[in-house]
């Protein structure tokens, strides 16, 4: 019997699901079962149901008091997570140079004000970031990611001076400091639209920083920016109020 046919037999898969949930599957058997769970919903659902049943066993355990430091560590981390990103205004306010820039930056400030003065409720409906020059701290682009139209738009307000054989790449840096994810190449001027799927939309809640780097044309790095990072900005979430 092939392995998947074997797991389609309710008697067998339920027994294996119980064994997995109780912690009795190990090594290759466990890895094989986890691989199957990723693609077969019924296996995952059965395991989950038994995990929940066995989890009541925790009630029998004697209490163990955690150290005070543990809550401090957790609290520090969730405060970082929950705090809306602040938009720096002092360094680049004087550099506003035309009505378009003023309009875009004003929009970003209004969004930031909404974030600061309204409690966040429910899931985000959009994200926004003002990207500043990493060296001069002047505002150079505004990014908006919207669930309504499932797209990321980045509007370059200033035209960066980069060689013809180079292009700009947009990166998402996870809040937890993991590997950045490249969203795509963007135009040096005007607006670039990048369409996103549901999984990408969901993943934005884990993104802390957006960055734009200068990279050789047509070359994509999966490890993170290799060229100079030109722009950076904290991503803020927008919630329905």
């Amino acid at each position: 019997m092939s392995s998947i046919k074997r797991y389609q037999n309710p008697e067998i898969f339920e027994q294996l699901a119980m064994e997995y949930a109780v912690g009795g599957l190990h090594g290759r058997a466990k890895k094989r079962f986890e691989t199957l769970m990723e693609t077969h919903f019924y296996l995952k659902a059965t395991v989950e149901a038994y995990e929940y049943k066995f989890a009541h066993l925790v009630e029998l355990l004697p209490d163990e008091k955690p150290s005070d430091q543990l809550w401090e560590n957790i609290n520090a981390q969730i405060k970082i997570d929950a705090q809306p990103a602040e938009v720096k205004i002092t360094s680049w306010w004087h550099s506003l140079f035309n009505t378009k820039v003023y309009g875009l930056v004003a929009s970003a400030l209004i969004i930031s004000a909404i974030l600061l003065f309204n409690p966040m409720t429910g899931s985000p409906i959009a994200y926004t970031a003002v990207l500043e020059s990493s060296t001069t701290h002047t505002a150079m682009a505004v990014t908006r990611i919207s669930q309504a139209d499932m797209q990321l738009s980045i509007d370059m307000m200033k035209h960066p001076d980069i060689p013809d054989n180079m292009e700009l790449h947009l990166w998402c840096h996870p809040k937890d400091g993991g590997k950045p994810v490249m969203m795509g190449a963007i135009a040096k001027s005007g607006e670039t639209i990048i369409h996103i799927d549901k999984a990408e939309w969901r993943s934005f809640k884990n993104v802390g920083l957006l960055a734009v780097s200068i990279e050789p044309k047509g070359k994509q790095s999966s490890d993170g920016p290799r060229g100079e990072v030109l722009l950076e900005g904290q991503l803020s979430s927008i919630h329905e109020t």
Binding site: E14, Q15, M18, E19, V22, G23, G24, H26, G27, E48, A49, Y50, E51, Y52, K53, F54, A55, H56, L57, V58, E59, L60, L61, P62, D63, E64, K65, P66, S67, L70, W71, N73, I74, N75, Q77, I78, K79, D81, A82, P119, M120, T121, G122, S123, K205, N206
Partner: protein, 181 residues
């Protein structure tokens, strides 16, 4: 029955309520740390895993589905899976142990009446089912859950052949299934 922890989790998910999260932490962390310490046998590792677990609980609070089970069971599953991942990643598990939790006294078949009073109906039902198993089957299943022992580790610990231990677990789970349905 009302699930107090579900309400707190709901507040964490809906309004990122840090006060609710702190209350949730204060009330549930002692049991969850106890579980981590048994699985990892090292307090520092156990606290590290518990920290990761609570961050995940905070971040994923909106994925908790009350219709699937109590909030505490969801949280215990999140934390236990983190601990099992850590356990699996530790190649030198035996050398790093420091606590040596071993027994199952806390899960005795004849718990004192005041201990029984504090248990949920679901736990009492699970306990009834487990108490119907043969002692060796029950012991192997509980040692697997609380300590994350492999079949080989159970065989070594109980000084029984590997095949016997595997059969105890397999038959124990077979007997448990109709009772848990």
């Amino acid at each position: 029955m009302e699930d107090k922890y579900a309400d707190l989790l709901q507040r964490c998910a809906a309004s990122r309520d840090q006060i609710a999260f702190k209350q949730l932490y204060e009330e549930t962390s002692p049991k969850l740390l106890s579980l981590c310490m048994r699985l990892l046998q090292n307090k520092q590792l156990a606290e590290d895993v518990l920290q990761e677990g609570f961050i995940k609980i905070w971040e994923k609070a909106d994925t908790y589905a009350p219709e699937k089970g109590k909030a505490m069971t969801w949280m215990a599953t999140v934390v236990r899976n983190k601990a099992l991942d850590k356990l699996r990643s530790l190649k030198t598990k035996a050398a790093e142990t420091e606590i040596q939790y071993e027994g199952l006294e806390f899960a005795s078949t004849d718990l004192a009446p005041d201990s029984l009073e504090n248990l949920s109906q679901d736990m009492k039902g699970l306990m009834d089912c487990l108490n119907k198993l043969k002692p060796a089957q029950r012991e192997c299943i509980l040692l697997s859950y609380y300590y994350g022992h492999t079949h080989q580790e159970l065989s070594d610990r109980l000084e029984k052949p590997l095949g016997t231990v595997k059969a105890w677990i397999r038959r124990g789970l077979e007997d448990l299934r109709p009772c848990l349905a």
